[in-house]
């Protein structure tokens, strides 16, 4: 008897969360629980995949600030992920000196440096990109991304060029995969909480205005370029944070982290999960990372596979998985648009509340 009462209480909480915040609420709860309990699975492999999911998920969520919330598509977002990774890696190596070891304080410092490095990169590129929209924005973001990749790739003396930076061994505590996993989970959770606050702030709604109608926004007194630039830098910084976590985990960084292939990742993840939902990119990361880990065990032609998947998704399910789920719920409950919260992130589908 007590158990059914508890069940109702939890069910009530979930529905309440759904009504207050939208589908991302319950999804976040479910994902959060899964992430917390993941290391209980046997073996090290799930945890390794888990770290990747978290890092790439944060990367994708930073991308969605530009795409789902502001309406522009950036095909060069990996440049800031990579800049963050390299920023951390280079400082890391400097701290290591000849010993190959790094202290805890230095480790955290090298992680922190990713933020200004990626932010500056985003600032420089954003300065030009925000003068454009739509197709031109996409082209320039891709082109500048490639330029940054090329610089890192060619600057052999500083970045190690093709070889990248190797031997990034974290301090002893973090060498343990499970420890690093929970560390990553903490940082990613904090970052996501910050992202959530930003999307609920007045700035977040200015972004939505830009997404829907840039011209009108400027007629309402909003300096569109400045707003886009600010968002671009913020998104780039969060991507940089994700990049920072990548290097010490993989023990190395390479120029590929900045290239167009890597830039495709957040785009695919956001498409898979659904750009119209705050939790979409993270859901996409879960699906994508697991799928790619699985498929690459059988074939080396992963780009071909994901290419077809993207094709099918774009043609038939552009709103993503969460959109599919949410529209089922809407149909089920015949829900009227209730006065829950203040508006919608929406792309490729009806307005759904976040």
């Amino acid at each position: 008897m007590t158990s059914s009462f508890n069940k109702n209480k939890y069910k009530g909480l979930i529905t309440d969360l759904y009504h207050r915040v939208g589908l991302s609420g319950p999804v976040a709860v479910v994902l959060g629980l899964c992430f917390l309990l993941l290391p209980l699975l046997p073996g090290e492999f799930p945890v390794i995949v888990g770290v990747e999911i978290l890092i790439l998920g944060l990367f994708a969520m930073s991308f969605n600030l530009i795409y789902g919330y502001m309406g522009q598509i950036s095909f060069g977002h990996a440049a800031y992920f990579g800049l963050g990774a390299y920023g951390t890696a280079l400082l890391f190596r400097a701290f290591q000196g000849g010993t190959g070891e790094i202290g805890y304080f230095d480790f955290f410092l090298s992680l922190l440096v990713a933020i200004p490095v990626s932010a500056v990169g985003a600032l420089l590129v954003g300065f030009f990109c925000v003068r454009l929209t739509g197709v031109y924005f996409a082209i320039f973001s891709l082109a500048f991304g490639e330029l940054i990749f090329y610089v890192v790739f060619s600057w052999y003396s500083f970045t190690g060029g093709d070889n990248g930076v190797q031997g990034l061994l974290p301090p002893p505590f973090f060498q343990n995969t499970v420890n690093y996993y929970y560390f990553t989970l903490t940082i990613v959770a904090v970052a996501i909480a910050l992202l959530w606050r930003i999307t609920r702030s007045p700035f977040g709604y200015t972004l939505r205005m830009l997404r829907d109608n840039q011209q009108r926004a400027s007629f309402l007194g909003i300096n569109v370029r400045m707003c886009m630039l600010m968002n671009f830098v913020i998104a780039g910084s969060f991507a940089g944070v994700a990049g920072a976590l990548w290097g010490p985990f993989q023990r190395s960084v390479s120029p590929g982290l900045l290239g167009w292939v890597e830039s495709g990742l957040p785009v695919f993840m956001t498409l898979i999960g659904g750009a119209g939902f705050f939790a979409g990119p993270m859901v996409g990361s879960v699906v994508y990372t697991i799928l790619s880990s699985y498929v690459t065990m059988f074939t080396v032609y992963w780009p071909l596979t994901i290419g077809f998947i993207i094709l099918i998704l774009v043609l038939f399910v552009p709103g993503g998985l969460l959109f599919l789920i949410d529209s089922r719920i809407v149909n089920l409950r015949n829900r009227r648009q209730s006065d829950k919260d203040l508006g919608s992130v929406s792309y490729g589908g009806q307005g759904e509340n976040q």
């Binding site: 031109y136 082109a143 290419g307 552009p318």
Partner: protein, 297 residues
């Protein structure tokens, strides 16, 4: 520093031939965007497919008919025709569904095509580069040896440019295409089958790119990854020249091609940076390109 005219000449010719190749690829991109408002991200990847296809056909013909450089011609013709057909099919099956969609979704679709086609190249042809060697004697000009094939490329480029211009300005079909750049709805209101025009334009764009791939084979090896370098250059050309303008694409190709060639003399790694500088200046000063129509965002 180029002390002699010879190396300058070589670079100039190299730049011109590269410009021609760029032009042929980019004008397809420009036309497709101008008429249908779709940015075909996979344009250079299709170019690459054409290159591999031409190579294979050339190998096939030389295996049957013996070693003759002239066999490149039927190989190019066949490959171009095949790619034209592929372009037509792509438009009818895939691109057509995206006209009513948002820009990011359109971009995503063509981006997915990059993955599909480039990985298909890997699947069919493997990872090695391909190159064709034509037995041509270098000729002497101004104390330097020049590959006369370069003149073939320049001639083909100018020829196609002229042909395209004639098609767009002197034939009925071409004038309809130009009208569609300005006002799609009006054209369809005139009772003209817009769907055929779109398929034709897309196929034409892909076909022109395919032609350039085949023609350029003797000069430059093709391999995986070249398509991404190329698409960036194409973007630069089309942005500088202006979407939808053949003249603009031609001029911009000349600029980019020659800049590339000469920067090798002065600042080897800086070609890309210089192109970017030009891009940035153009975007700030005349966002719709030197010859383009007012941008539709």
């Amino acid at each position: 520093m180029p002390a002699d005219f010879g190396s300058v000449l070589i670079q100039l010719l190299s730049g011109l031939s590269r410009a021609m190749m760029l032009f042929l690829v980019s004008c397809g991109l420009s036309l497709i965007f101008g008429v249908m408002n779709i940015l075909n991200f996979a344009h250079a990847t299709l170019w690459l497919v054409a290159g591999y296809l031409t190579y294979t056909l050339f190998q096939f013909f030389t295996a049957i008919f013996g070693d003759s450089g002239l066999l490149l011609i039927p190989a190019i013709i066949l490959a171009t025709g095949a790619m034209f057909a592929l372009g037509w099919v792509l438009e009818r099956v895939l691109i057509r569904r995206m006209y009513a969609r948002e820009v990011p979704e359109q971009l995503l679709l063509t981006f997915a095509l990059i993955l599909i086609f480039s990985d298909s190249i890997k699947l069919i042809w493997g990872v090695e580069n391909r190159r064709i060697f034509l037995p041509i004697e270098p000729i002497e000009m101004l104390d330097s040896y020049v590959n006369p094939y370069i003149f073939v490329i320049i001639a083909v480029g100018c020829g196609v440019a002229a042909g395209l211009w004639w098609f767009l300005h002197r034939t009925r079909y071409g004038k309809i295409v130009r009208a569609a750049v300005y006002n799609r709805d009006m054209v369809s209101a005139l009772g003209i089958r817009i769907s055929t025009i779109f398929a034709g334009v897309f196929a034409l764009g892909v076909g022109t790119a395919a032609l350039s791939a085949g023609v350029f084979l003797p000069i430059m090896p093709i391999g995986l990854g070249i398509d991404m370098d190329l698409i960036i250059q194409c973007f630069a050309v089309v942005v500088i020249g202006g979407f939808g303008s053949i003249l603009g694409t031609f001029v911009a190709s000349l600029i980019v091609g020659v800049v590339y060639a000469f920067s090798i003399l002065i600042w080897p790694n800086g070609a890309l940076a210089i192109i970017f500088l030009i891009l940035v200046v153009v975007v700030i000063w005349r966002p719709w390109g030197l010859f383009g129509t007012e941008m539709r965002y």
